[in-house]
């Protein structure tokens, strides 16, 4: 059976270009005519890179040489743009890419005349799926680090980060770092008086305020019900105390409005500790000291900051 190659050439759902080693176009199939709106008779004999000036001519010529020398296929790995020919993606909904993502194979076509053949395959759908998967994966990882209510970090993330910050400090001449533990005063009362929804709002408010008080390199995490911890990198005890006080005052000034338009005020107690040798290289110990200071704050009347010595 003889194959009607002409028919196949012009009905196949891929782009097919036949070129000489200087990248002059010798054949251009219907798929390309339709996708690029360039007719075969317009581009025959012309240099592909002159017509599409964004193509890296040096690289493509080298690929052409490679397939002619090795007599094996080569694949264009498209690092900057994922296409050889810029063909705008036609769909309006769910658009991830502006241009068609393409899979390119280059083959030797005629070794005597040094002609090569390029197959272009539309890979856009698969790339879209991959991109969505990547995004979902990133979101999943982020979610596992976050407290669902306040969206700030959770205890688990805090544990990971504190180890990193400790290592960093040790590698860099023991740059000081400190912890602040923070607890909402008489939280149970707030819940009992105004209801859990208001209680939740208070927690969210406190979370946001303390996030504002820290730098990007610091970590703020919700440890449990109404408990928070702040990890301050490159910060000594004195400065940590200042941060704690600033947070306490901001919280004291703030309020939450109930649905009955009532203003709910609240305060926090804080304990501060700087990581030092007495902690035996264990941040848990620093945390305990901060907690002990926090307890003293509660004991001493609340709405205050106590420093661990």
């Amino acid at each position: 059976m003889t194959i009607n190659s002409n028919l196949i050439f012009n009905t196949v759902n891929n782009g097919i270009i036949i070129l000489d080693e200087n990248l002059n176009v010798l054949a251009w199939n219907k798929w390309l005519e339709i996708s690029t709106k360039v007719k075969e008779k317009e581009i025959i004999g012309k240099n592909l890179c002159e017509y599409f000036s964004y193509i890296n001519e040096k690289k493509l010529k080298r690929k052409a040489k490679t397939v002619l020398v090795t007599n094996n296929p080569s694949f264009l790995s498209l690092s900057t743009n994922n296409f050889l020919l810029d063909i705008p993606v036609s769909n309006v909904t769910n658009k991830v890419f502006e241009s068609m993502q393409q899979d390119i194979t280059i083959l030797p076509y005629d070794l005597e005349k040094n002609h090569i053949c390029i197959y272009i395959y539309d890979n856009t759908q698969m790339c879209e799926v991959n991109k969505k998967l990547e995004k979902l994966n990133d979101e999943l990882i982020d979610m596992s680090h976050r407290d669902p209510l306040t969206q700030i970090f959770n205890r688990r993330y805090f544990a990971e980060q504190s180890e990193k910050i400790k290592s960093y400090s040790q590698r860099n001449n023991n740059i000081p770092f400190s912890l602040i533990t923070l607890d909402i005063d008489k939280f149970k009362n707030i819940n009992d008086t105004y209801g859990h929804m208001v209680g939740d709002d208070v927690i969210i408010k406190v979370a946001h305020i303390i996030e504002e008080e820290v730098r990007n390199s610091d970590v703020v995490a919700r440890f449990g019900g109404e408990e928070f911890v702040m990890l301050l990198q490159d910060c000594n005890l004195e400065n940590a105390y200042k941060v704690a006080e600033k947070a306490r005052l901001s919280i004291q000034e703030s309020c939450v409005i109930t649905h009955k338009n009532k203003e709910v005020k609240f305060t926090v107690s804080l304990g501060v500790a700087q990581f030092d040798e007495s902690d035996n290289n264990n941040i848990e110990n620093t945390l305990s000291r901060a907690d002990a200071a926090l307890y003293k704050a509660k004991d001493g009347g609340r709405n205050q900051t106590v420093v661990s010595n």
Binding site: K59, R62, K63, K65, T66, V69, T70, N71, N72, P73, S74, F75, S77, S79, T80, D103, T105
Partner: protein, 205 residues
């Protein structure tokens, strides 16, 4: 029945000679494509079973360095996977040999070049080996990743493939020295086929 395909001394000698020829073709291809003369260093060819692969890699790859790993699937009687491993410094040297300017040496461009060189080395070496033992193969597009340690190496290799031919190469261009390892991993059926083909070649001697 022994699950691991071992080659005897004669078979290994024969394979070594075939690989020399295959690798000579690959080096010639590279020098013709880049237009520079390459010194064919006698490739050290090790033929081991995949159970010893991780051990080999542990010795070869220094944990401090970063490596690029490229893999390419092979189909046909010699079905398997070719893997090329090259360290960061050699990659930069390679990019320079491809006439990349310093500004052009971005990670993406370097990855591109490594993919190209792997495609050439892998397709010509395996292609020539296949031709020498009278069979045909086809290739898939190569993929590249960066790894920091042997631990990141996909351990599925030891299950999926039975045999590894490791060609440690040193591509020496006039100024640059480029070290890389090309590993040819064969599936069990391919190893069996290879062994038979080697024996036929030996018989014809």
């Amino acid at each position: 029945m022994k699950d691991v395909i071992e080659l005897n001394e004669d078979e290994r000698d024969c394979l070594q000679e075939l690989m020399n020829i295959a690798y000579g073709a690959a080096t010639a291809a590279i020098s013709e494509i880049i237009g520079k003369f390459a010194t064919l260093s006698i490739p050290s060819i090790k033929s081991i079973s995949t159970v010893n692969l991780i051990e080999h890699l542990n010795q070869k790859l220094l944990d401090k360095n970063q490596y690029f790993v490229v893999n390419q699937l092979i189909n046909g009687h010699l079905a398997g996977e070719n893997i090329f491993i090259i360290d960061e410094e050699s990659s930069l040297n390679l990019a320079r040999e491809f006439d990349l300017e310093e500004e052009e040496c971005t990670e993406n461009e370097i990855k591109d070049i490594i993919l190209e060189i792997t495609n050439i080395l892998s397709s010509v070496t395996s292609g020539k080996l296949a031709a020498l033992i009278d069979t045909n193969i086809s290739f898939s597009a190569p993929n590249i990743t960066k790894i920091n340690s042997v631990g990141e190496f996909d351990k599925r290799f030891t299950g999926e493939y039975s045999h590894v031919i490791i060609i440690s190469t040193e591509l020496n261009f006039e100024e640059q020295n480029i070290k890389g390892d090309l590993m040819i991993l064969t599936k069990k059926e391919s190893s069996v086929f290879l062994k038979q083909a080697l024996n036929i070649a030996l018989e014809n001697l």
